[in-house]
């Protein structure tokens, strides 16, 4: 088949551009703090209480709680979408008290009791990251 040669050059250019962009896209994966690491709250932001509220802007109120061992923590969905509560394994692989966290519609809530001390990260969606800091009473 007689193919026009100039098209091959375009394809080669597109291929090399793809390689370049792919390589560039991998850099953030390995270098520097990742976006979600930066978005996660820190321990000094933790406040006392036992309830997280997912507001309409899909942000946690508060973002971090400091609770004594044995506290039952509640997450309330006040957003207009599903509350997709998950362990933030990309920040701290485990432990998480609930292996199969629920997906809850608006108005519903979920509770779990923390019986071991530690720092537990969770998230809803990609940016709403929160933490529970469980301490000895």
């Amino acid at each position: 088949m007689n193919r026009p040669n100039h098209n091959r050059q375009y394809v080669l250019a597109a291929f090399l551009t793809t390689l370049l962009l792919t390589g560039a896209g991998c850099v953030p994966q390995f270098v520097g703090p990742r976006f979600l690491d930066a978005a996660a709250p820190t321990l000094d932001q933790a406040v006392s209480g036992d309830t997280f509220i997912l507001n309409e802007a899909e942000e946690w109120e508060p973002a971090a709680l400091r609770v004594p061992v044995g506290t039952t923590v509640t997450w309330i969905n006040q957003a207009k979408v599903f509350m997709d509560l998950r362990p933030a394994t990309f920040i701290a692989p485990y432990p998480y008290p609930e292996p199969d966290p629920p997906v809850l519609p608006p108005g519903e809530q979920y509770s779990t009791t923390y019986n071991e001390p530690g720092v537990f990260y969770f998230n809803h969606g990609y940016e709403a990251v929160g933490l529970v800091w469980v301490v000895e009473p």
Partner: protein, 445 residues
């Protein structure tokens, strides 16, 4: 136009079926949380409407798709009552999309491995379009109930980007899977469609560079993979080197591989994200489908290779007529009128047809997608490939109105109640190394 594949009124039915499906896909997810109990009845109503259309048109493929899909929705509703109705609908839709995508992929190689699958080869696009529709339904549920119609989420992670690109590519393939598109769209437009897909992919990637979160651990691996795969399927990539003759339609529709890999990546990330540790049943389900697709294609290629090697060793009685060597293939009585049989002449597979008292010999490999021409139907003076209906004149292999290329033909003779086939192609197509090049490729410029 073709017996068994009417193309007159079904086009209207198809448009009606597509409009019905799209209406339900865009309406049902809009019910909201409070009316979520209505989701199942409305989905079943939509499927019932499509099923009724399939029954009216006696379209068994559509009916099977509708019945299996309805059974899946009902089964999930019965056995998983604890899951929210929206989630049940969204997850069942995505599972059905993956199922029909896998089936679409398996039909191709299986139709080469066994004749039993050939009758549904024509219907392959129905499964592909079904995969797109269920994928679109899943997308609508998730886009509304998870992401609140935030478009940025579509490209901010490899998880969503992979599925979004897969869905867009599926929409292109679904829209161009019609017979009209197959037969009427010129080569340059196909190249334009393919390059547009590539440009879209590149644009999405650049946007993700600016907005992406790179949260998933698979992101570093998946992004290079699917961009490299896409580049490999570019118009001058692997397909043209392997298949030699690839029409524009085929080139674009080979993006199925890209879609399948993207959707598999999407499913893998979804499960690892849902469960932190991927459950064994999910890994087995996705792995089985993925392995079935790739292993079946590999098996098909091995079978074809072995057949060619074996057939190349066969010998035939020879006679010389008018200076041309002819090979005996079979007694006349072993042929049925209007039916073809496959033989190998000098290493080349040849389909020999009995038409009345005459015999015609053509290459047994359709230049489109290597369909078995000996299984083709004789309609007047043309033979029609069983896979995609490409038609060729039985006398000289010249292409019919829906075929882009010609088929090598061979002279025949009958002596002593034996059918002989000439060793040299008598048509305008020539042969090289068992593959067929065409002297007047429509793509030549």
């Amino acid at each position: 136009m073709h017996k068994g594949h009417p193309t007159t009124h079904p086009f209207k039915r198809e448009r009606f079926a597509v409009a019905t499906a799209l209406a339900f896909i865009f309406i049902v997810p809009e019910l909201g949380f409070n009316l979520a109990w209505l989701i199942l009845p409305l989905l079943l109503l939509g499927l019932a409407a499509l099923g009724a259309l399939a029954i009216i048109e006696k379209d068994r493929t559509d009916l099977v798709i509708v019945l299996v899909s309805a059974a899946a929705y009902i089964g999930v509703w019965i056995f998983f009552p604890e899951i929210h109705p929206v989630l049940r609908a969204a997850r069942t839709s995505s599972s059905l999309s993956f199922l029909w995508l896998t089936v679409t992929f398996l039909i191709g190689p299986w139709s080469h491995l066994t004749k039993r699958v050939q009758p549904i080869y024509h219907e392959r696009r129905h499964f592909g379009v079904a995969a797109f529709f269920f994928g679109l339904l899943h997308f609508h549920f998730v886009f509304k109930y998870y992401f609140g119609y935030d478009p940025q989420i579509l490209i901010t992670s490899p998880f969503t980007l992979a599925s979004f690109i897969g869905l867009v590519l599926m929409s292109v393939l679904a829209a161009t899977s019609t017979e009209y598109a197959h037969n009427k769209i010129p080569e340059k437009i196909w190249n334009w469609i393919f390059n547009s897909c590539f440009a879209f992919l590149l644009l999405a990637w650049i946007l993700q560079l600016g907005l992406g979160t790179f949260a998933e651990p698979l992101s570093a691996l998946t992004l290079p993979i699917f961009y490299l795969i896409f580049a490999a399927f570019a118009p001058y990539g692997l397909p043209r080197k392997i298949l030699r003759t690839v029409s524009g339609w085929k080139q674009v529709h080979m993006l199925m591989w890209v879609i399948y890999i993207l959707i598999t990546i999407h499913a893998l990330i979804a499960f690892t994200s849902f469960y932190a540790v991927m459950p064994a049943w999910a890994a087995a389900l996705i792995g089985t489908g993925f392995l079935a697709v790739f292993c079946t294609h590999a098996a098909g290629w091995v079978v074809m290779l072995v057949q060619r090697i074996r057939q190349g060793r066969l010998g035939h009685d020879q006679v010389v007529i008018d200076g041309l060597k002819y090979y005996a293939v079979s007694p006349v009585k072993d042929f049925q009128d209007g039916k073809g049989r496959k033989f190998v002449i000098g290493g080349n597979p040849v389909a020999v047809f009995k038409i009345g008292d005459d015999f015609r010999a053509l290459s047994s490999i359709c230049p489109h997608q290597a369909g078995p021409m000996e299984d083709g139907e004789i309609i007047g003076n043309v033979v029609q490939c069983p896979l995609h209906d490409w038609q060729f004149n039985v006398d000289d292999g010249s292409p019919g109105p829906n075929a882009l290329e010609c088929l090598p033909s061979y002279p025949t003779a009958v002596q002593n109640d034996l059918v002989f086939v000439g060793a040299q192609s008598s048509g305008r197509c020539s042969e090289v190394n068992g593959h067929f090049f065409f002297n007047e490729s429509p793509e030549s410029e």
